[in-house]
């Protein structure tokens, strides 16, 4: 789960990391009030879950009232990679000499967190990681001990951070790790840490993603979740709690288990179709979940046909069949053809229950996908 910059900065500030003075604003008037308090130059920054906001025009610096108003008008309400900007952070402009990068994430290969520090801040750090990996110093963290103070210093000196601010940067890194651990962050980073002309260090940006599986430990963070998603359907999937990704094709896909659903997508492609979505109803789905899943794919106007592929382990075929029947019986006319394939636990019982007036049934995955692809081709003609 992603936090907005303003939310992460509040958390950073409370933990003692220096951040610029700022106000959150949701209207041009609020922006103007904020800049009056904060003064010029001021940065007006779109608060949306999108990377590269700056390049996309979501961040502007204002040095006068006119510029501030123009920036506010431009940014508020703009569409940024599919997200509508509803909030901006108005922040005191920092007069900086250097921009650094500091961050912590989980190294899944090693199974432990890794702290990263670089003097190449303020740019796309993933590009730096690929092009000049040596420009980023890394230090692995034993999760039982946490980040030792010496490790924070070590990685900061290794990265070549100027000696006069090395202690301050190490201290920020230590605080970041405390937050990473205590808030169950998946990633936490500041890009850039700015070094001012007074040689102070300031967190000019703030990224903090929380491990969704750990949100039960952090009700305060769970409340911060902003469900503004790219797409109405993805928002709906969030509400239902599905793993869902919308794609550009016309074959709607429902299945259980990420690997099997991805395989179904791959097979749709293999047989000449185009997947409209990834939708994993998860393990042990009951009838209600199935109804919700069908609602999802039917709501997608791009979908011309649906394949429903369940291989039951925890998930029981009869429950799925019941859900399919219930969902489809509520329609006067089935909006899109549905091919169902049930296998595994209680698959036989499920097949017997299925109302074949409403759905087509296939025994193998390959046949089910092929039929759905054909159905989609027919429907789109």
């Amino acid at each position: 789960m992603k936090l907005h910059e303003y939310q992460a900065k509040d958390i950073f500030a409370e933990a003692g990391i220096p951040v610029p003075e700022s106000r959150l604003a949701t209207s041009v008037d609020e922006v103007m009030e904020a800049v009056e308090d904060i003064g010029y130059p001021a940065a007006i920054k779109a608060q949306v879950h999108v990377g590269g906001r700056g390049k996309a025009g979501g961040i502007k610096i204002a040095t006068s009232e006119d510029e501030a108003r123009e920036a506010a008008e431009d940014i508020l309400g703009m569409d940024l990679k599919g997200y509508t900007v509803e909030k901006v952070l108005v922040e005191s402009g920092v007069d900086f000499e250097n921009e650094l990068y500091v961050g912590i994430t989980m190294d899944r290969g090693e199974g432990e967190p890794v702290a990263m520090v670089s003097t190449e801040g303020g740019v796309d750090i993933e590009a730096v990681a690929e092009e000049t990996p040596d420009a980023i110093a890394r230090e692995h963290i034993d999760p039982a001990f946490g980040l030792h103070p010496y490790q924070a210093r070590k990685v900061v000196y290794e990265a070549g951070i100027p000696r006069d601010v090395a202690g301050d940067v190490a201290s920020i890194l230590s605080t970041l790790y405390d937050l990473y651990e205590s808030k169950d962050a998946a990633d936490i980073e500041i890009n850039p840490v700015m070094i001012t002309s007074d040689r102070d260090v300031v967190a000019a940006d703030a990224v903090m993603n929380i491990d969704s599986d750990a949100l039960f430990r952090h009700p305060d963070l769970a409340e911060m979740e902003d469900e503004a998603a790219e797409d109405e359907l993805e928002r709906k999937a969030n509400d239902y709690g599905f793993d869902y990704v919308r794609l550009s094709g016309n074959v709607g896909i429902i299945g259980n288990g990420a690997g099997l659903v991805m395989t179904t997508l791959d097979l749709v492609d293999h047989y000449g179709g185009e997947p409209a979505n990834f939708l994993d109803i998860g393990g042990g789905a009951k009838a209600e979940r199935v109804t919700q899943a069908l609602d999802m794919v039917f709501s997608d106007e791009n979908v011309d046909a649906v394949v429903f592929n369940i291989f039951g382990g925890i998930t029981r075929g009869d429950e799925v069949a019941k859900g399919i029947n219930e969902a489809l019986e509520s329609f006067d006319e089935i909006p899109k053809k549905v091919v169902v394939r049930l296998a595994g636990t209680n698959a036989k019982e499920g097949m017997e229950i299925l109302n074949t007036d409403l759905v087509e049934v296939e025994e193998t995955l390959e046949d089910a996908v092929q039929r759905a692809v054909e159905n989609a081709q027919e429907a789109s003609q």
Binding site: M106, G109, P113, N256, M262, T263, V268, F311, G313, G344
Partner: protein
Amino acid sequence: MSILVDDDTRVVVQGITGGEGRFHTEQMVEYGTNVVAGAVPGKGGEKVNGIPVYDTVNQAVEEEDADASVVFVPPAFAGDAVFEALDTDLDLVVAITEGIPTQDMAKVNKRLGEVDTRLLGPNCPGLITPGEAKLGILPGNIFEAGNVGLVSRSGTLTYQVVSNLTDRGIGQTTAIGIGGDPIIGTSFVDALELFEADEDTDAVVMCGEIGGEDEEQAAKFIAENMDTPVAGFIAGRTAPPGKRMGHAGAIVSGSGTGTADSKISALNDAGVPVGDTPNEVAEYVEDFL
């Protein structure tokens, strides 16, 4: 023969009194698994299906001389449950639980380096030695005893491939779901090593998916250390970069590693044919035998 479990394996079920634990214990017992105890704090002295329940895993292991445990404990407590299991003489701990916080697993991972016990999972379907024992939630009826080992990151995809094998009359020595979480106890390489050492495993199927570099490492291991032939499958060829699909493993970073292409070509380079469909994988295996 088989790897890791057989009909002698004495199993403790952690969380046996919960809904999932109770249901799958029944299923496991029905399949023939030797479930000797349950462990649930505060429920010591009770019985589930005639199986004695203990307050601690330690008591269960000592009293019933258990070798392995299966963890059906809710995610908030599952990390602790795995630690508890690792603090005994068990050979194998199978963590079924989905949704264990990653930092809890990072600590478990550290602990794994200090003990001899093997962890399978979490967020995995478990493992099965057909006709002998299953530890986990795999649907027993689709498996058949035979001479092919199977290891997979995904539960339902495993079932799909197994059914393609079984349909052709090809049985399995042992099938293992290693789980799709960022941090897991048993990797592809670990499982392949066990299959390579098992005399009765004549071929291996490995089902990977996009994300991470475990498949690439497995390819390296196969090329360097395996005589047993391996057929592969990689899910997620059509997944667009940068999209997270289901479990944490299934995300393509957009960079060179972790993509379906990089995994498939690594496997091909190691002499592993990779099927376009699950059925094609079964064909490759048929050719091996």
